[in-house]
């Protein structure tokens, strides 16, 4: 008898348990820690579902970057706690919230229970497309992302840029164009500096490897970009680097480079290969890697900018 179903059941119950802990945790920090653990466990679930690409993304973005984002957000909320009046919502509001939440949950449950059998799927079409126009890549996931559903992939990066614009726009008028506040307010701390100096070069190398190998094996632009982003955040936390001014030209160019190159290549495909976002068969692989390289750059810049927050006037140093 195989042990695997048994282990899978343990894994699934662990995920459920951590999810319940995360929702019910009273302490903000405990909830964030629960969420990070939940993301890592979910990465294991994806591995068990034979989806290592999704697992890599979940570990890097769902757990790593989102964790940093939530911890920073939690710290800022903690600073606000003294300002906000300590008012409890009334009974009617609590009841209304409960009823609404139950409605949403039951609607979701109903939709899942009423799924047609077999469920509608685009998987066969995507698989065929990965063999056809996206060919030349050994990794069908990358082929589907960059060829079959390239428009979605490009729009995802535009959403990232919009998020950065949204974060920047909540800064004070006077601070506009300035740099975001440093990620850590204290002075440089030796173990942190050591970690950044040792880990950042290795991490950057691994990030490039993950992006490059994504053409043929699990990996890809988003995973590599998220790793690079993490390394930049690490150097900023160690105070080896400062967040750049938000009006710096190189920063804005790097932010839009990914979607811009993607869009231009897509338009060029309309002329050369006959349809929007089509690539000439022989050149598909180099073109896709070229586009992905710029997307890595955009992701690596956008994620730390989300964590760094809006531009603020420097008064801490």
């Amino acid at each position: 008898m195989s042990l695997r179903p048994f282990l899978d059941v343990i894994l699934a119950s662990l995920v459920l348990g951590v999810a319940i802990f995360t929702i019910t945790a009273r302490d903000l920090f405990a909830a964030v820690v629960g969420y990070v653990a939940y993301g890592l466990l979910l990465a294991f679930v994806w591995i068990r579902l034979y989806a290592p690409d999704v697992a890599l993304t979940e570990a890097a973005v769902g757990s790593g970057v989102t964790g940093v984002l939530l911890i920073t957000a939690g710290k800022r909320l903690g600073a606000l706690k003294d300002v906000a009046p300590d008012r409890q919502p009334g009974l009617a509001l609590k009841l209304l919230t409960g009823v609404l939440a139950a409605l949403v949950a039951s609607a979701l449950g109903a939709v899942i229970l009423m799924l047609p059998d077999p469920p509608p799927s685009l998987a066969p079409e995507a698989a065929a497309a990965a063999d056809g126009p996206g060919a030349g890549l050994g990794n069908p996931i990358t082929a589907v992302l960059m060829s079959y559903r390239s428009f979605d992939t490009m729009l995802e990066k535009i959403v990232l840029i919009l998020a950065v614009v949204g974060v920047w726009s909540v800064g004070a008028d006077k601070a506009w164009g300035d740099a975001p506040a440093p990620l850590r307010q204290q002075k440089a701390y030796a173990p942190m500096v050591f970690l950044a100096q040792m880990l950042a070069p290795v991490g950057a190398l691994i990030a490039i490897h993950v992006f490059w190998t994504g053409a043929n094996a699990p990996g890809g632009a988003f995973q590599g970009g998220a790793l690079l982003a993490a390394m930049w955040m690490l150097t900023m936390m160690a105070r080896l680097a400062q967040p750049p001014r938000v009006d710096a030209q190189w920063l804005r160019l790097a932010l839009v480079a990914g979607p811009a190159v993607f869009l231009i290549s897509g338009l060029a495909g309309g002329v050369v290969a006959g349809s929007f976002f089509a690539y000439p068969q022989a050149l598909a692989k180099p073109i896709i890697l070229f586009i992905e390289a710029f997307m890595v750059l955009s992701i690596a810049v956008a994620l730390p900018m989300l964590v760094a927050g809006p531009p603020s006037e420097r008064q801490d140093q």
């Binding site: 701390y189 173990p191 942190m192 050591f194 970690l195 040792m198 880990l199 290795v202």
Partner: protein, 95 residues
């Protein structure tokens, strides 16, 4: 047919798992955060090192064996640094 290398793998991974188990027991049972940190770092460094060591003979190629060692080294690096950070935060009295 169990070869000598298989036995080595079983032994190394078994001892590594024991370190993880002991570290987890320490994490749950030790009285304060500094001793819990101590238990956790043993599990991470020695336990993962032994598991990686046990997996090396089972790797497909020399490159994947090397990757296992790199993973262990990276975990040790980040584990040591985060232990320092948590320890400092504890000494300053903020949890």
């Amino acid at each position: 047919m169990i070869t000598l290398l298989d036995l080595f793998s079983i032994a190394a991974i078994g001892v590594g798992t024991f370190f993880f188990f002991a570290g987890t027991v320490g994490l749950l049972r030790f009285p304060d955060s500094l001793t819990r940190l101590h238990a956790l770092s043993k599990a991470d460094n020695v336990g993962l090192g032994l598991v990686a060591l046990g997996l090396i003979p089972r790797a497909d190629s020399a490159l994947s064996a090397l990757k296992l060692i790199v993973i262990w080294a990276l975990v040790m690096l980040s584990g040591a640094a985060t232990s320092q950070l948590i320890g400092r935060a504890l000494r300053r009295g903020r949890k």
